[in-house]
């Protein structure tokens, strides 16, 4: 490996860093001011790319020149900026004070809607944009051929940084944005209309996302899956740089660009893993990133309101549980095979969602990466069976043990954080595991996964396998419920409501949280293992972001304030998906809109809303 080759690699790394920075700067800007982690930022990036491949060729037809290309890219970014404004006015404005889990879910609802929209307008196929006129295909530097457009990108990134610096330092808007990043309530008390400031910020942030998308069309095609890919990378940049810090994002983008460029030389399949590993390391060493600051004034931030009071089941509750258990146990007698299949999946999801609410509703730890444990359980069961030839029973015992061990190891770093940084580290951890499974093709089968994960002969019949799943899931949920009702659960809730006070009365908060993490991981791992055997295969979607979002949505639909809400949520969501998906191409739109509507209408979840309604009804009947 000679020096000139390293220089070439360096330039490639810097070019991708530049491109990443442009998009990430918008996300960090929006987060700094609004404190919303905008999942839809990736969708805006995607829209920028699609608009650019539509607009730029038409402009180049008029006049084939570099300025026309730039004009087209800017026009696309401008339109995306306006779309961002619309999202702010319609949705974000209503959820600034909501807990972050709802904000995340609502913006993910937008992601789903935009995915359908893009396929509807532009179709499912990749669309490659035109090359930038006048930019040489390659330039020779030290005997190495470097893409000319890479050099353009290397120049554009710092230029954007400079322009943003001027905007932030030399304009009233910039000064207000920086002030609001620190203390938005005080900015309001000084007479600044936050609503307008937020709308303007969304415009700038979305513009940058759109520009990032538009500028990459000469070398990467516009395609429907690019939103999720870019959002996880920009999350990494934003978090590593320090959320809200634009210079931090620049440094982080360079660090990641170089790490990926040189990391790929050593282990070619490691690019994704590298980025998330960096993020995990940074969050552990410097939880607020390179240039970030611990949150000082968050304004009137609402913490998540979890499970408040634990009451033993009343007569109605006992009756409902008994009926559900009897119905569940006798299901094979009165349901067809398809019903059993749906029921098995629902049970697995219900266990995973119940475990997630142990973290969120009881522990106050909003995990964005719960699919990781589901996937680890599934992969453990699947790989042990297919690659090592283990039988189902030992594999099903190993699944929760391995998932619990991995969760305990990663949880050790996670439980030291709180709030949005904890959420981001869970996401990073999940993406790290996802990247491992996706890129380590030799072992995991990569994108295709592994097939042939079949149950043992005695459990091969669907009814028997259903019975096994029913037994294990109900037992696991019952055990988790016992743990929540034990002093362990009380300690977790105490730590959730006041970390300091809990420590002051002698609770080992980190230890209890770690135990909760491992327990939830193990339970979810069991669910994943059962799921793998029911499907007969494993693949990376089991531990992808959409899967994590599904679990969060189940908890949200059921309500974080109730223990059994997430179980109901799992049933409702899975049944709805199962019912709607075959009926329409637009199921993502419907799911997205449903999530958004739920967040706006029932911030307590469906069961929580019902409980509130019951309480109101009871009060109105009193004399």
């Amino acid at each position: 490996m000679d020096a000139s080759f390293l220089v070439a690699q360096l330039l490639t790394g810097l070019a991708s860093a530049s491109s990443l920075f442009i998009t990430a700067s918008g996300l960090t800007l929006v987060f700094g001011v609004t404190r919303i982690v905008n999942f839809a930022h990736g969708s805006l990036f995607m829209l920028g790319a699609y608009l650019a491949v539509t607009i730029v060729p038409r402009l180049l037809d008029l006049h084939y020149s570099l300025p026309m290309f730039a004009l087209g890219a800017l026009a696309a970014a401008l339109i995306v900026g306006l779309i961002g404004v619309a999202i702010e006015l319609i949705l974000l404005r209503r959820i600034y004070r909501a807990p972050e889990i709802f904000q995340l879910l609502a913006t993910f609802g937008v992601v789903l809607v935009v995915q359908d929209l893009v396929i509807r307008i532009w179709g499912p196929l990749d669309i490659l944009g035109p090359r930038a006129p006048g930019v040489p295909r390659s330039v020779e530097i030290l005997g190495q051929r470097i893409s000319g457009y890479d050099l353009v990108l290397i120049a554009v990134g710092p230029t954007i940084l400079g322009l943003l610096w001027l905007l932030m330092r030399r304009t009233r808007f910039g000064v207000l944005v920086r002030a609001a990043t620190q203390d938005r309530e005080m900015v309001g008390a000084l007479g600044v209309d936050q609503a307008k400031l937020f709308t303007a910020t969304l415009f700038v942030g979305s513009f940058l996302a759109g520009l990032g998308g538009a500028l990459q069309i000469p070398f990467k095609p516009a395609q429907p899956a690019m939103d999720i890919a870019i959002i996880s990378e920009t999350f990494v940049v934003t978090v590593v740089g320090g959320m809200g810090s634009i210079p931090g994002a620049f440094l982080a983008a360079i660090a990641i660009g170089l790490l990926q460029a040189f990391g790929a030389l050593i282990i070619p399949e490691s690019t994704l893993v590298m980025a998330f590993l960096l993020m995990a390391v940074v969050l552990v060493v410097r939880p607020w990133g390179f240039l970030g600051k611990p949150d000082a004034h968050l304004g009137a931030r609402t913490a998540i309101e979890g499970v408040k009071s634990l009451t033993p089941l009343d007569a109605t509750g006992k009756a409902v549980v008994a009926i559900a258990l009897v119905a569940g146990a006798t299901l094979p007698l009165w349901s067809d095979a398809y019903g059993l299949k749906v029921a098995i999946e629902t049970l697995c999801f219900a266990l995973a969602a119940f475990a997630l609410n142990l973290l969120i509703g009881v522990g106050g730890m909003v995990s964005f990466g719960h699919a990781a444990w589901f996937g680890v359980g599934a992969y453990a069961a699947g790989l042990l069976t297919v690659k090592l030839g283990l039988h189902m029973a030992p594999a099903l015992i190993a699944a929760p043990l391995i998932a619990g061990a991995v969760a305990a190891f990663i949880g050790y770093f996670i439980v030291r954080l709180s709030g949005i940084y904890l959420a981001m580290l869970t996401l990073a951890a999940a993406q790290l595991i996802y990247a491992l499974c996706f890129q380590w093709v030799a072992v995991t089968g990569g994108d295709n996964g592994v097939v042939g994960v079949w149950p043992a002969e005695w459990a091969a019949a669907r009814a028997v396998y259903y019975g096994l799943t029913f037994l294990l899931c109900v037992a696991a949920i019952w055990l988790l419920r016992r743990a929540i009702h034990a002093p362990f659960g009380y300690a977790l809730r105490g730590a959730r409501d006041s970390h300091l006070r809990a420590e002051a009365v002698g609770i080992d908060v980190k230890g209890q949280r770690l135990a909760a993490f491992a327990l939830a991981g193990a339970a979810t791992g069991l669910a994943g293992g059962l799921y793998a055997f029911s499907k007969g295969s494993i693949d990376p979607t089991l531990l992808s972001i959409p899967m994590s979002i599904d679990f969060l949505a189940m908890v949200l639909i059921g309500g974080v304030q109730t223990l059994f809400g997430p179980v109901i949520g799992a049933g409702l969501l899975h049944a709805a998906k199962d019912f709607i998906m075959p009926l329409t191409d637009l199921w993502r739109t419907w799911l997205g809109l449903t999530i958004v509507a739920l967040v706006l209408a029932f911030p307590q979840g469906v069961l929580g809303g019902l409980a509130q309604w019951r309480a109101r009804f009871a009060r109105s009947r009193k004399p």
Binding site: V175, R178, T181, G188
Partner: protein, 232 residues
């Protein structure tokens, strides 16, 4: 001072944090050009009263009217724009910003097209700030930050000021400078409500006292009638 029509009228104001009520029908008025000292022990409700007037905390009962307009349900920025300035207890200076930039955040055009406050005018009142225009606020002393907090609010050209504990935690010599600055503002016709535990400081500036105890008004009247025992 009783002859002038009040510009701020707080009427049976109630407020609560969650289920815990902390203000119980607090009432008082502020006349144009008048300065009121809002006194009472820690936890008596001084800060809460000012926050509720400013709209930072939702009133659970009662009303606030400012310049003959009901502002009880308005957002903080709307109240600020009507001419009520607020400098909070913990100053809440934007520490990442310079002195000049902090002042810029507070800037609003003067009412009635007058000249209004400019940084240069404010630097005359708070001479310490003039030497550090480009310094980051995080590198300022507590007294300088307090002066910046008041100067920042004045950039909005308010008709009346709510000052929460302007003398708290300041060195005696700085307290004197602060008193001098506030007296100058008073002489210019600015009305002020200052929450204060420093009796001497309050006596130097305020015309009347409103004593709060456990979230309710216990006494309204001349400062001289307040026994020193009532202060702490």
């Amino acid at each position: 001072m009783t002859g002038a029509a009040p510009i701020l009228r707080v009427d049976r104001l109630c407020a609560a944090y969650g289920l815990a009520q902390v203000l119980f029908e607090v009432s008082f008025t502020l006349a144009r050009g008048e300065t009121i000292a809002l006194t009472g022990r820690n936890g008596a409700g001084k800060t809460t009263t000012l926050k509720t007037i400013m709209g930072l905390l939702r009133a659970s009962g009662g009303s606030v009217s400012f310049l003959d307009e009901d502002v009880t349900r308005l957002k903080p920025f709307e109240i600020a724009r009507r001419g009520l300035g607020y400098a909070p207890e913990d100053r809440r200076i934007f520490t990442d910003l310079t002195v000049d930039e902090n002042l810029e955040v507070g800037r609003r055009a003067a009412r009635g097209g007058g000249a209004g406050f400019t940084p240069d005018v404010l630097f005359e009142i708070f001479p310490n700030l003039a030497e550090m225009r480009h310094r980051r606020a995080s590198a300022m002393s507590g007294g300088e930050q307090q002066m910046l907090a008041i100067a920042r609010t004045l950039m909005g050209n308010p008709v009346a000021l709510l000052l929460d504990e302007p003398s708290e935690g300041l060195a005696p010599v700085i307290v004197d400078q602060m008193a001098e600055a506030l007296l100058r503002l008073k002489a210019q016709g600015l009305s002020m409500v200052l929450s204060e535990q420093n009796a001497e400081f309050a006596a130097a500036i305020a015309d009347r006292a409103v004593l709060l105890e456990k979230g309710a008004v216990r006494f309204v009247g001349p400062l001289g009638d307040l026994a020193s025992a009532d202060w702490f």
